[in-house]
Amino acid sequence: MSKGKIRATQYAIFLTLLAALFATLSIASAQGPEPTDDEVNQIAKKLYCPVCENTPLDVCPTEACRQWREQIREMLIEGKTEEEIIDYFAVTYGERAAGDPRDKLRAYLIPVVAILAGTILLVRALQMWKKPKAAEAVIPAIEPKPVVHHDEYIARIEEELKKRN
């Protein structure tokens, strides 16, 4: 092999290695540094264990939770934001996995509006129930007519009573 060919091969190897190095560095920079346990738990505490109810993910000792925390770590390395990660968990594992409901308007506002609307309706219904109707109010009260007893026996008793008084 000539000296020129050897030099060309050396250059080719050098350039290939340089390209590989740049590629590795660019992938590493795109992925970001390894997140700490604290960073993982910061997100994990906003999620809930899929198996044991009401246990935040950061303190849950089950294998399922360990896997989920690992998934959070991988997503952080991929450069996903906290919101993206929580959204992913809510979509993949259901709303109950996320501590806060995704659709806050629907979750908080609608029940309050429904309770208030129901209350107003109930109060109005009770008020109408208690008050006499307007139509009824204008009808003059009919005085009861004195009862006239034509019974001779009762008339005598009443006369006797008057005498005694």
Partner: protein, 188 residues
């Protein structure tokens, strides 16, 4: 000096009603939760509503990545809920795969693995570990497991050719005969 006492003001009616309405609503929610918890799984004899399942790549059914239960009408469906973190699931993994290999050539039975609250990475490790080849996919948003009201994993549901649930296995199978005993009567 004469003491002045302020008369006690009654709580307005609308506030009282609001509080009562809120309490009654809260009780209703608790009651519904308790009722649901006591219901148990979907019972045999019930017609199963249609649902769709997205399958993991490499675990498709006849090349389809998304299937509906209604697509499988005319076949016996064995629906197995599992998870890679579930130790009892490992006890039955081999039996399920053996049963699948036994019934697959006939084309009358379809096994579907439903991966419950799992990560795909770990699920794939599990599937590879037990050489599972039958269609498998995640139970996205736990919608299917909620419909079946599963109490845990593993749980297996046997659905007949008309889409009616015939048997529920709670916990792992201990032998392949146990699986055969549920499938064979449904093929007659």
């Amino acid at each position: 000096m004469a003491e002045t006492t302020t008369p006690r003001r009654a709580v307005p009616l609308w506030i009282q009603i609001t509080i009562w309405a809120f309490l009654v609503g809260l009780l209703a929610i608790v009651a519904m939760g308790l009722n649901r918890a006591q219901q148990g799984t979907v019972q045999p004899g019930q017609k199963i509503d249609d649902f769709s399942l997205t399958l993991y790549s490499g675990y498709e059914l006849d090349g389809k990545t998304e299937i509906r239960l209604s697509d499988l009408r005319g076949k016996v469906v064995v629906l197995n809920f599992w998870a890679s973190w579930c130790k009892p699931c490992e006890q039955e993994a081999t039996e399920l795969q053996e049963a699948w290999l036994e019934y697959q050539p006939g084309g009358e039975v379809v096994f579907l693995g439903l991966d419950y609250v799992d990560t795909e990475t770990d699920a794939r490790v599990y599937l590879k570990k037990f050489s599972i080849t039958f269609p498998n996919g995640p139970d996205l948003a736990t919608s299917i497991s909620q419909y079946f009201r599963i109490r845990g994993v593993p749980e297996t549901y046997f659905i007949d050719k008309e889409g009616v649930l015939r048997y529920v296995q709670v916990g792992p199978f201990v032998s392949i005969d146990q699986i055969r005993a549920q499938i064979d009567p449904l093929l007659k």
